[in-house]
Symmetry: C2
Subunit: 241 residues, 2 copies
Amino acid sequence: MAKKGQYTYEYPHPAVTADCVVFGYDGKELKVLLIRRGLEKEASTMAYVGEWALPGGFLDVEKDRTVAHTAARELKEETGLKLSYREFREVGTYSDIKRDPRERVITVAHYALVKLAEVQADTDADKAEWFAFGDVPSLAFDHDKILRDAFSRLKQNIHFEPVGFELLPEVFTLPQLQNLYESILEVKFDRRNFANKMKHYEILSEVDDGTPRRGTRTPIKYRFDRENYDRLKRSGFQLEF
Amino acid sequence: MAKKGQYTYEYPHPAVTADCVVFGYDGKELKVLLIRRGLEKEASTMAYVGEWALPGGFLDVEKDRTVAHTAARELKEETGLKLSYREFREVGTYSDIKRDPRERVITVAHYALVKLAEVQADTDADKAEWFAFGDVPSLAFDHDKILRDAFSRLKQNIHFEPVGFELLPEVFTLPQLQNLYESILEVKFDRRNFANKMKHYEILSEVDDGTPRRGTRTPIKYRFDRENYDRLKRSGFQLEF
DNA sequence: TGTTTTTTGTGTCATATTTACACACCGACA
DNA sequence: TGTCGGTGTGTAAATATGACACAAAAAACA
């Protein structure tokens, strides 16, 4: 542990943190990973002890290459989830002078998308919990606003990036994909038109798992065709819904 | 001037700055406001002395309410331009561990749009200069990248916000507006189709300055109809071009 | 001054895109 | 065995987009 008062500067410096909004999808609704504050590190110096909050923590000035690295490191420490710094997308900076009661703390918020089924086992249930997006309790600091902003950003980015495919399992069905889009965009689509549009983009490939379909009731399984998507993206397009 | 070593922390803290990309439009092309480093404050402690850079500077931990306030304050100090903190839109955070050779400095980049004709007189020509966006020299730090990113962000935001109207004078013509859109989006539009679409949105009002138009060569003057725009926005729309 | 060039405003038609909509199949469940 | 619910599929109407030409006058030029 570092000695107190070891680091001095000519002018005051703020502390900098990175916070993570991790979105998952369980096939029905969007979920968010939260932690309960104060169960870990020394609680005495902490604010908002016992409240729910976004995972996140202080930038390691000497080691973290960027704040996205901070986000990845802290997420791992606080929830057990291992993501690469490249998986974080920036939401924004929150710098209000009074946002932390202890000292001036500026946070850079990020969001990340995970395949819930694949990571649920990795999340340390003692510290972290998945909440339905609509059921999130009131959060510490300005994390309520950060969460809302992260969702808005996701909602925008869905038009430019295949966010749906990052949230679904490798193999998924059209109804699942549609449901996810509807959850994020908060609208309803006509099933047939949605299928047509998706088909038109040619970014889905049917998965043939050997078993012949035994009736239309069993939905067709698809896989995201990243190669075609990348080609489309290079030619400059927008996913319209 | 503060005494050296006055501010101590248990853990190292980064310095935080705000940088500003100020876009203007002269009727022909997009312009950016740059400053030459080292002409102001004590140059001895400075990096990149003499090079061109974006206006910006250190967060005043005790006084600046948010980093947008820092941006506004520094822009005023360095270029004479007075903008409200509300006029800055965040571009992103630049936190690479090596981005400043002196100490760890994290910057939050912003952009702002100004009506060039109205502010050109306010810009302190000794310190700052307007450059055509295409003619910007190589900049200090990672400001080249910040500038590119700010432009991309502007290009995206033009679909959601009436950015064109913030760059043009109160009263403008359709050809001016089209030219601006073409500059930002880097495409060409058909004059008639552009006019039709704009007309269709109903966010322009003709300005009647008394003088009857004496021929089609004199373009019709318009004013942005913010009331109609706000109504449209509330009903959830997108400016498509 | 006259001539040429440039700029602007305007409307229609062909094509592409979007939206609305109905039925047949079969598995799940009672 | 019957009913219910979820899935797949195609077409027609409405809407949006994209291409296109001419007339008028200002501006540039000789």
